[in-house]
């Protein structure tokens, strides 16, 4: 079981696709890409099989010393804990589905597309499996390049503008992370006499304290960096642009996987490195979460573009993650991690559906659509299922996350004011139902507009993708223990730091 192999396998595949060995034939490229995707996903399933959930630390450790970094203890160190394992699996699952969904969404420069796609997968897998801060940062930055190209070359609308905005905004956040990483290593070495980039070591209980001002700066440095990615109000405005102008599979990846990197960073760095500060700021984080939930939901009401509506709902749902993390109980944090998976699945599905509608009707304006359920009954049933999932209807995955987050947050020892605020945040469930169902009604129900008389129902590819997502959404909604069991131990270990 080699984690490095898992992380770098997509990179190898990408080089293979880009190389002259691969004939320049779209069908062959697409099929081999799908084959590689299946391989990677199957390999990551093996990690799940060998994972020991009762053990809270890193597993599958693997490290290489790099000669040019021998001055300090840094290198290629990989490791997985419960949270990262779940996210690695989610990543490979969504990437595989996005590969399948790429048919029809991408019609040019296949070699470039699929090689960038796999580089992106390496970057994301690296972020989730790196056990070394420097390595983490390299992967974190590496993710920007393929994403920039995927949006600016294969996107639609104001694609260059959106890609550049995404790049600059995330890069702006990364600077804060880099500064915080350097400061952290520096102050750790002053305190302990060891220069190390090892995440596990940095997160362990310390015998010394950082200077107060440095701790504040480092905490908020990390926080701003991850808040851009999550995103947290008011650092969210890159998201609607990037999501809307990206091609459908890339939107699936953006919402399904890339946003989770921000939450992962918050858990791994902010919470593990500065548990006391996280505890101190918990009210602030919860308030930010509630603002995220409500603010984005309000804006989603005013959207006329279907894809933008889904994008804003993504922001709204990420607020739930913030609330869960801020409350700092095992229940609410499990809810937050559960929400990462649940939202990853459902947002990928919703973006896919928007893509499906767009491909057939050439419009995403809600006002221009109507009654297409009569022509696409299967698609509309899937759409209803996923809309209900985002609303948090029970026995579907969204509900478990929502319930755990709010139940856990209510039972934390926060003040009454925050608890009242939480109930206000729960109000988001009405708003979400409002904008989603009104849009659903307008798009799928009512009279069929004559210009859509010719459209067809799902193709086999689309059906496969949606079916996979639907099965997992229902499965995790009915048997949440299967997922919770993987990362509960890890979260328990992190909470013990406080």
């Amino acid at each position: 079981m080699s984690l490095a192999l898992l992380a770098f396998a997509p990179l190898i595949f990408s080089a293979f696709i880009a190389s002259p060995l691969m004939p320049n034939n779209p069908v062959i490229i697409r099929r081999s890409a799908k084959f590689f995707g299946v391989l990677i996903f199957a390999y990551s399933i093996l990690f799940l099989y060998f994972f020991k959930p009762e053990y809270s630390g890193y597993q599958f450790l693997q490290s290489f010393q790099l000669p040019f970094l021998s001055a300090f203890e840094s290198g290629c160190a990989f490791g997985l804990d419960g949270v990262s394992l779940v996210l690695v699996l989610l990543t490979n699952f969504i990437f595989l589905l996005a590969l399948i969904a790429s048919k029809g969404a991408v019609n040019k420069k296949h070699k470039l597309y699929y090689s960038m796609f796999f580089i992106l997968q390496t970057a994301v897998l690296g972020v989730f499996s790196a056990k070394d801060l420097l390595l983490f940062f390299v992967f974190w930055e590496l993710e920007l390049i393929p994403m920039y190209i995927l949006i600016s070359v294969f996107g639609s609308g104001k694609k260059e503008y959106s890609a550049m905005k995404f790049l600059l905004y995330t890069f702006f956040g990364s600077l804060f992370i880099l500064g915080a990483i350097i400061a952290l290593v520096y102050f750790y070495s002053i305190g302990s006499g060891v220069v190390t980039f090892d995440i596990e070591q940095l997160a362990s209980v310390k015998s010394f304290e950082y200077p107060l001002w440095a701790e504040i700066l480092m905490f908020f440095g990390f926080f701003v960096g991850f808040a851009v990615k999550l995103p947290v109000f008011p650092l969210h405005t890159w998201l609607p642009d990037a999501h809307v102008d990206a091609p459908t599979p890339v939107s699936m990846l953006l919402a399904g996987v890339l946003l989770k990197m921000g939450a992962y960073g918050l858990i791994k760095f902010n919470l593990s490195f500065f548990p006391d500060w996280f505890d101190l700021c918990s009210s602030l984080i919860i308030i930010l979460g509630v603002v995220n939930v409500l603010y984005a939901a309000f804006i989603a009401f005013a959207q006329t573009d279907l894809k933008k509506l889904v994008a804003y709902s993504s922001i709204s749902h990420m607020g739930l993650v913030l609330i869960g993390l801020g409350a700092l109980t095992i229940v609410s944090m499990s809810g937050a991690v559960f929400q990462l998976v649940a939202h990853g699945l459902v947002s990928a599905a919703l973006f896919m559906l928007v893509g499906i509608i767009y491909k057939r009707t050439k419009t995403r304006e809600i006002a221009d659509l109507g009654g297409i359920s009569q022509k696409m009954p299967v698609a509309s049933s899937f759409a209803l299922l996923f809309v209900l999932t985002t609303l948090g209807v029970p026995l579907l995955s969204g509900f478990v996350a929502e319930l755990l987050v709010f139940l856990g947050a209510m039972s934390s020892d926060l003040g009454v004011f925050i608890k009242v605020f939480l109930i206000v945040g729960l109000f988001g469930m009405i708003l979400t139902a409002g904008y989603f169902l009104v849009a659903y009604k307008k798009v799928f129900w009512g009279n069929l507009l004559p210009k859509y008389l010719h459209i067809n129902d799902l193709t086999a590819h689309e059906l496969l993708v949606l079916m996979c997502l639907a099965v997992s959404v229902i499965f995790f909604g009915v048997f949440p223990n299967t997922l919770l069991g993987i990362f509960e131990g890890t979260l328990d270990g992190i909470l013990k730091l406080i």
Binding site: K165, L168, Y169, F233, P234, H236, T237, W238, Y295, F298, I299, F301, A302, Q303, T329, I330, V331, S334, G371, S373, Q374, L388, L391, V393, P394, L395, F399, V400, L403, L404, F406, L407, G408, M410, S411, K419, I423, L426, F427, M429, I430, A433, G434, L437, V438, Y440, K441, F444, W445, G446, N447, L448, P480, N481, L484, E488, D492
Partner: protein, 639 residues
Amino acid sequence: MKDFFVTNSWIISFLPLWSALLIMFFKGLNIYENKEITSLLTLGASFLGFFWSLGLLGCCLQIANFNYEIMVPFLNVGLLSLSFGFLIDNLSVLMLLIVTSVSFAVQLYSRTYMANDKEFHRFFVYLNLFNFSMLSLVMSPNLLQMYVFWELVGVCSYLLIGFWFKRPSAAKAATKAFLINRIGDFAFLASICALGAFSFWFWKFSNVPFLDFSALNGAALSVLGTTTPLVFFLISLGFVLAACTKSAQIPLHVWLVDAMEGPTPVSALIHAATMVAAGVFLIARVYPFLNYSPVAMSIIAWIGVLTAFIMAVIAIFQNDIKKMLAFSTSSQLGFMMVALGVGGYSAALFHLTTHAYFKALLFLCAGAVIHSVNLQDMRYMGELRKSIPFVAGCYLIGVCAISGILLSGFWSKEAIFYILADTSNFGLLALALLSSLLTVIYMLRSYFMIFEGKYNGTLKTFHIPPWGIKFPILLLVMPSVFLGWLVNEPFKTFIKTPLALPKLGNYEILFALSLIIIVIGVLLAFVLYYNGIKEKIKISFIRKFRKFAQQGLYFNKFYEFLIEKLFLKITRYAYLFDKYLVDGVVNFWGLCVQVKSKFLLFWQNGNILSYSTVGVAGLCLLMVVFLLGFSVYMLEVWL
């Protein structure tokens, strides 16, 4: 044998789920062209469920305070463990019997009613899913499971109201129903979270499964111990709000009338007999908890009685048969609420039982009427007794039952009046009696308008209902007639009011009063409506009021105003704020950098002439500076 029925009672709710899945996955196949398999599966599931419930009833009758619970874990995190399961006690068995029997009749009816619909299979899938959710709801052993299925019945109702989604009005009604119910779901979930959080340690120490109904009493004390009475009141209010949305009580009743856009069997099953009663059922289940908040209880009572009264007033002025029945449902549910609010647990559930049958009967008759004249407006009916006498007779029985003319509704309403008098709530009693009078009037009005007087429509021949329609109606006639007499006394011991023990005084005067009210009501209805509606009363006040009432007291208009003029405007401003201010700052920053770069680019243009110009200009500038400095220095030295 007895154990077998009890331990396997989960099968009652799973049978419909299995039939739903079977129909869903096999309807695409060619061998599945036959609609009979679908209806057989569905009917079989309901019938077996009813049979099974009868077995359970046997157990409950043999053993006093029968209580059986089985749990399977749903999720475990940290100290929290939530479980699903089923609870068999007198209350759940009663509900099981009601749901399975009404379902059976309605499904039998739908088999004929929906026979020509292209989406026959989809309809039965939804019906089965609804049955699964509703049966699991009534068997819930804890609040969480109740919430889960509470929302699922809402989803099924959404799907069934929007069954004919091609009609924009149906699509709109379904969305509206779901959204308004969502308010109740929010209140329910918030209350569950708060209740669970504040009594978390109680559940841990008492070793009872989390949020189980059996220990709500202790949980209430524990919540009172850890927080202020205000918080306790707010939690109770959450449950009340949830019940009010599901049971269509004021001010959140507006969805129920629109829900009549669904097929008529759906209105009979979901929006009259079973799902809307879930609110009453919820209050009955959390009764031990609410009992500690007298204010919440009196809120329930007042909401109930106001709904009963106002909805009855509105029903008098309705011309659409289904809408009239919907308002009537709201009003009858109000009767149950008022009984619960004053502690008449048993009376409320008795009325729930009788109401389920006679209201389903009325709706099925209404469906038969609509089927035969092809419209819903009662003003264009009349004289139908001659063409469809069977339906007329059954409808009349339903009317007598609901308005308490000696059939089942009489006994259950009488029980409610008793409890109101017994707890000395004479204000509530007066309003309830008045509502009962109004019930007689509006129900007889509808009967006269449909079946008596002169025919006002244009049809020459009427569609005579076949036996597929008549037989289910006949099934429902029987309980509507006999239920009141037969179970009036045993019911009081079967469903006992928990905790409180009100002493039943002797109120024979109430009996007489009810009879007088019935006589007055019948006479009034005869005078006013026997030969069509008397439009002779030309007092302008009444006319204005008629318009007011026909619009349902403008609740809808008010909410539309709030949403369209206020809420959506706010969201639009929020979007502008986001676009121009939050994003504006970002783009402004980008713009600043761009302007700076443009400025620098102007000089870095690769043109040798401009470079040398700049060079020379710089040199000149330096020389000027140097010369100035030098001269200042020289001046200082010189001076």
